[in-house]
């Protein structure tokens, strides 16, 4: 039997429609004008013990909402959800004992106290005995090298150090499943690598099931065998990561700053690329942030150097960056049937 079983799960929120301006705010005081937002609508999947599963999707896809339902914080609007055979919402306190959670955006450590105090408090809260606690702390120490931080106040830690402490804290009571909600957000490459290796090690040593939500495809590639892609509350893909990396590994996005950018520039770029590389070039063009034009290419079909050379000669380009394909583009490609 699977550790986590989710079937036709949905969660709707009721949100007040806010009106504009001061007078609108006053009228909102008596407003009953709600709209329903379907954060999660009818998802199903199973996760086995010991798996590391990447749960990915763009902002507002419903990732955190699903996690909050699995941890028993939110009550589903409909559907079945079971973790270790129990309904998380009904048995929140008992279920919390077998779960660990890291919210990358906030800490669960005691901000004003030295790091070690947080671990001690959690030890008491989760009723971890002294011997197990010492063993765990030694293990984390070898793995992460936290000892030097013990006497430091949590609020003075760097983001990377804090994240390592938060991850340690979430594993302290040896939970069966750990939810990592964007554990590498805002971290530099070397800290990311460290965090990935720690997660991998913990999963191997203890066979802890790990559910990882992230924006960073690198995290998923490094850690997961399986990924679930969700967007607008629906599952787009649930399967092996290999298929996804095989498909997107060859994709690169060229970010360009084109001089004298105007409304017609995107269209003329599109036309010129079609002219040069044929109608079936598979190149995506989008403007994701101000001043930057994104050209995403599949290197197996059109070599990066060719596209870059062509664009540079056709337009006056003041700056260029080359990045791996973004989560948003993966999701868009999946939408267009790339994995079907």
């Amino acid at each position: 039997m699977s550790l986590i079983h989710i079937e036709d799960l949905s969660k709707h929120f009721k949100i007040l429609n806010r009106r504009e301006g001061l007078s609108g705010a006053f009228r909102d005081l008596f407003s009953g004008d709600y709209r329903t937002v379907e954060a999660v609508s009818g998802i199903s999947f199973d996760i086995d013990a010991g798996e590391i599963v990447g749960y990915i999707g763009p902002n507002g896809a419903g990732k955190s909402t699903t996690i909050k339902m699995m941890t028993g914080i939110l009550k589903p609007t409909g559907g079945i959800i079971q973790v270790n055979g129990q309904v998380p919402y009904d048995n929140r306190i008992r279920q919390a004992q077998i779960m660990g959670v890291v919210f990358g955006q906030r800490t669960q450590l005691w901000w004003d106290l030295p790091v070690i105090e947080s671990f001690r408090i959690l030890k008491e809260i989760y009723k971890v005995d002294q011997k197990t606690f010492d063993q765990h702390m030694n293990m984390f120490n070898e793995l992460v090298g936290l000892q030097s931080l013990y006497s430091q106040q949590v609020r003075t830690l760097s983001l990377g150090q804090r994240m390592l402490c938060d991850i340690t804290a979430s594993f302290l009571h040896n939970p069966q499943v750990v939810f990592l909600d964007e554990p590498t957000i805002g971290l530099d490459i070397s800290v990311k690598a460290k965090i990935r290796s720690v997660i991998q090690e913990l999963n191997r040593e203890r066979n802890t099931t790990i559910i990882l939500t992230t924006h960073d495809l690198g995290d998923v590639e490094a850690l997961c065998h399986r990924i679930i892609i969700i967007d607008k509350g629906r599952i787009l893909y649930n399967g092996a990561i290999k298929k996804v990396t095989a498909l997107f590994g060859a994709y690169r996005t060229i970010k360009l700053q084109i001089d004298n950018f105007h409304e017609g520039t995107l269209q003329s770029l599109k036309d010129k690329l079609s002219e040069r590389f044929g109608a079936e070039h598979g190149i995506m063009i989008a403007q994701t942030e101000e001043f930057w034009t994104d050209v995403t290419i599949d290197q197996e079909r059109t070599p990066l150097s060719d596209v870059l050379g062509f664009v540079m000669s056709a337009f006056t380009v003041s700056d260029v960056r080359i990045v791996e394909i973004s989560m948003e583009n993966v999701v868009r490609k999946v939408y267009d049937g790339a994995l079907a």
């Binding site: 902002n59 914080i73 919390a96 959670v101 906030r106 008491e124």
Partner: protein, 263 residues
């Protein structure tokens, strides 16, 4: 249980971490007591007693009342409000703890902190600097117990208001209204004896008087008979039970509508 004790200890430690705040609150208290001393001295210039209270008793009432004001203000309503808004509440709900008891533990930690930082120094100041004489009597024995119950009542009122945040996303209006009601109706600002009889008789039926009036009566007039003091304590206990039950019921409802932003 051990977990909650650890939280009490942690909250106390947080108070100690900010030791300058600790020292300054003692300093601020000295200034307040000085001002109150001269104010009430001049009010009592022409009469020995006002409404049955001597200057000595009124000054104990006002002095300890201000210390208790800091002691009993848990800020749980604002804390909960903030934590619901920011979604921090999620980090509590992932732990195997009862939210109410967890918050209470935090409150007890700050209670102990302000006992050592404010209340004890105030009693020392009253005794040795302002030469106030504490009358001896059974009330002094009951005072700590009465104080604890006052704290529990205050906590549950605050927690109740904070839980409204699950429904409204903001408890600002409720919170400020509650603060004013508690401050005035509890006798924290002015002793209830100074209120008109008709109003006082209504106030004695509300839970607020059990927060300040009851424990302060125990110290200002401790030489009353047991059969006056014990019923006062029982009324407090009754309010603790009623408010605890009400908050638990409300909590079980409120947690159902909990929603945390972000997806």
């Amino acid at each position: 249980m051990r977990g909650y004790l650890a939280v009490v200890r942690a909250t106390y430690m947080i108070g100690l971490v900010y030791r300058f705040g600790f020292l300054f609150s003692i300093f601020g208290n000295i200034i307040y007591l000085g001002v109150a001393y001269f104010l009430w001295r001049s009010i009592y210039q022409h009469s020995e007693t006002i409404r049955g209270l001597t200057f000595n008793e009124t000054f104990i009432y006002i002095g300890l009342g201000s210390a208790m004001f800091i002691l009993l203000k848990t800020y749980i309503d604002w804390i909960l409000h903030y934590e619901i808004r920011e979604g921090i509440i999620a980090t509590y709900l992932i732990k195997p703890i009862n939210l109410g008891l967890y918050m209470l533990s935090g409150g007890l930690g700050s209670l102990l902190m302000s006992l050592t930082a404010i209340t004890l120094p105030t009693i020392l100041l009253l005794t040795f600097v302002f030469k106030v004489e504490f009358t001896r009597g059974p009330g002094l024995i009951l005072f700590p117990l009465s104080l604890l119950m006052a704290f529990l009542i205050s906590f549950h009122i605050d927690f109740f208001i904070g839980l409204l945040g699950f429904y409204t996303d903001s408890v600002w209006g409720f919170g400020t209204t509650k603060d004013i009601i508690v401050t005035v109706f509890s006798g924290a600002l002015i002793p209830l004896q100074f209120f008109p009889d008709a109003i006082r008789n209504i106030l004695l039926w509300l839970p607020f008087q059990a927060i300040y009036h009851t424990p302060l009566m125990m110290v200002t007039k401790p030489d009353q008979a047991w059969d006056i003091l014990l019923p006062m304590l029982s009324v407090q206990f009754l309010w603790v039970v009623v408010l605890f039950a009400a908050t638990q019921l409300f909590y079980n409802q409120a947690i159902k509508v909990l929603r945390i932003g972000g997806g």
